[in-house]
Amino acid sequence: MVRLLVWIVFGLTVLVTTALAADPVQIEIGYLRRAGVKPTLSLVEQPAENDGVAGARLAIEDNNTTGKFLNQHFRLEEVRLKEGDDAAKAAIALADRNIGFIISDVPADSLLKAADALRDRGTALFNAGAIDDRLREHDCRTNVIHVAPTRSMLADGLAQYLVWKQWKRWMMVVGSHEDDKLLAEALRRAATRFGAKIVQERVFEDTGGARRTDSGVTLIQRQMPVFTQQAPAYDVLVAADESEVFAPYLPYRTWDPRPVAGSAGLVPKSWDAAQDQWGAVQMQNRFLKLNSRHMTALDMQAWTAARMIGEAASRTNSGNSKSILDFIKGPDFSIAAFKGQRLTLRDWNLQLRQPILLVDGRMVVSVSPQEGFSHQFSELDTLGVDRPETKCEWR
């Protein structure tokens, strides 16, 4: 009898404990990183080894602070590709472990391969690192949500400001690599849309050579003025140099005393360490505390991606990846990301609408959309490819 009682009491205790502290719902997020880090001309702009993923790690902490009240727990599974690794294989390996969301920082071609490999697997990719417009246009996929802005959004954000400033005559210098040409195309489109004129274009050929030399400055100081001389009258030099070959050499070295914008000088970005409006200081402080360095645009894009998943998990009170994704793609989804207004998804191509910061390396000079560029639905849709122009047909 006593033994029976003991068993009953024991049984009750077990029941109560489990009811009080049920295991939290586990929500796993994969993070796929590209191999290597792109070298920059400026030593201070050289990305940190954990560029991007550091933002996702902070978002996981933020999600877990909230998750404690909802009995949800988030975890980041990081995969770093090596040179020659297949992104699709790595993505499949993550999906095989029942990971429903993968934040992706890989180039456009790898992203597409991964997206097609994940088709029918129920795992979605959150593109944090590729700005190519084609991924949102003729190469759009239903299982890719784009958190990074597009080249055209960045170009439009810059163009709106230059036009507002009445710097409407642009002299454009374009690099010789494919990405430079794509940026030039976006800038040309922006000039036409907002009423600027490209008075002349020049190509800066990449002839190879080391990015850092001991006596580099002397040579550059002679090269750049010569390269920019005999230009027609212009207000601002716009550089398209994603490959980091020449643009950072232009400020203060142009033949005519003119400001530089685009890939150097006044640069359009999704985020900057100098951004301090709309509560951003708290975010910058949290990031600095966790990572002991400043927060980059890629860090912010990854943070936003992981926060979107956390936000949808708390709104749906669910760890089910289908419910979370349906909510993110649905009409009620929005995310706060320290940019002064809610960010939402364009339903025609799953691109996150967002203001574009214009920064000079020390300060945020302005934030686009600029006043006066109006839109019937959202002023954020004055940036990038709008619904009537989209070439996205879901496949």
């Binding site: 402080n285 926060r307 708390s314 709104r315 706060a336 207004q341 809610r342 002023e379």
Partner: protein, 323 residues
């Protein structure tokens, strides 16, 4: 000599008998690092007090002796003596204090510290820290239920109103609201808790017993895009009939029928309107306009803006001393 005494005596007596209806309002100027002192009889700034870095949350102690102002970038709360209008001491808040609230007796101060996800509890008499409560990411809005039993804290990135038992200092409930909740206010009878969501663009009406959102107030201003409507400060009259909601960059105060939760009117005020405070007689409501560096005065009965007072740079919070 006698004459001099008599004259100064009269002067003191005159100063002591301000006309009825004259109150003193204190406005924190976020960028100016100052507190503007406003005489509500003259509707004029009578003094500008230098304070620490980035003053935002501001309150007058229950006994009227001190103005407390959170100076976030100095990681502290400064105490201003209302008699001398000088900073005389600091309170040990946590890092980056923003908003805070006192209990009914004026003995305990609860402070939201944006930087480390905590609410700090401070003994106002001893001016000492009593403890912390762990809350969500970026705590901001603070309220106490009229019966004193529950402290409410809203967290801006977690998007919740946390109900904290003031006895045990444990969280007893969490209510999810729209994005970036910034301010919380109870109806005087304790029947409803109102929480504004700046980025979500709504005010949630919460049943404090069921811990559930019963309805949400949305705002619609013709000709204004939805993203510009960003509710922050809330004021509810003592009879719980009328509420006022500051709509930030929409440059308007929404007047809400607090019974039916319907918006009845929008009052145009200055740019980026943040917070508000009633005069103790509730005849006037003063609101701070962050971008136009002024304070609008609203006649509560007439529902009209009757005056604009220039203050310091980027006015944020406002508190009015009890008479």
């Amino acid at each position: 000599m006698w004459r001099l005494c008599l004259v100064s005596g009269i002067a003191v007596w005159l100063a002591g008998t301000l006309p009825a209806g004259a109150f003193v309002a204190y406005v924190s100027n976020e960028k100016g690092n100052t507190v503007s002192v406003i005489d509500t009889d003259k509707w004029a700034v009578t003094n500008t007090i230098k304070v620490g870095q980035r003053p935002r949350g501001i309150e007058v102690t229950r006994n009227g002796k001190f103005v407390l102002v959170a100076v976030g970038d100095d990681d502290t709360i400064q105490m201003i003596d209302t008699a001398t209008e000088k900073v005389i001491d600091t309170l040990p808040s946590g890092p980056d204090p923003e908003l805070f609230i006192q209990d009914k007796a004026g003995k305990i101060l609860y402070v939201a510290n944006e930087n480390d996800n905590t609410v700090t509890v401070i003994d106002l008499e001893r001016r000492a820290r009593m403890g912390d409560v762990q809350v969500g990411v970026e705590p901001e809005g603070m309220a106490i239920s009229p019966d004193g039993k529950f402290l409410i804290n809203t967290s801006e990135t977690t998007n919740m109103a946390h109900f904290i038992d003031t006895e045990t200092r444990q969280i007893v409930a969490n209510v999810l609201v729209d994005a970036r909740p910034r301010f919380a206010e109870f109806k005087r009878d304790g029947s409803e808790l109102w929480v504004s969501s700046e980025i979500g663009g709504t005010v949630a009406i919460i049943d404090p017993v069921k811990h559930a959102v019963t309805t949400k107030i949305s705002f619609n201003i013709p000709g204004l895009r939805q993203e510009a409507i960003q509710p922050v400060g809330i004021g509810i009259t003592a009879d719980a009939k009328t509420a006022f909601v500051a709509l930030g960059p929409a440059n308007r105060i929404a007047v809400v029928d607090a019974g039916s939760h319907q918006v009845t009117k929008y009052l145009l005020v200055g740019q980026r309107v943040w917070h508000m405070s009633f005069t103790p007689d509730e005849k006037y409501l003063l609101v701070t306009n962050g971008l136009s560096n002024d304070v609008s005065v609203i006649d509560v009965a007439a529902l009209k803006v009757i005056k604009t007072i220039q203050v310091g740079e980027l006015p944020w919070g406002i508190a009015i001393a009890p008479q």
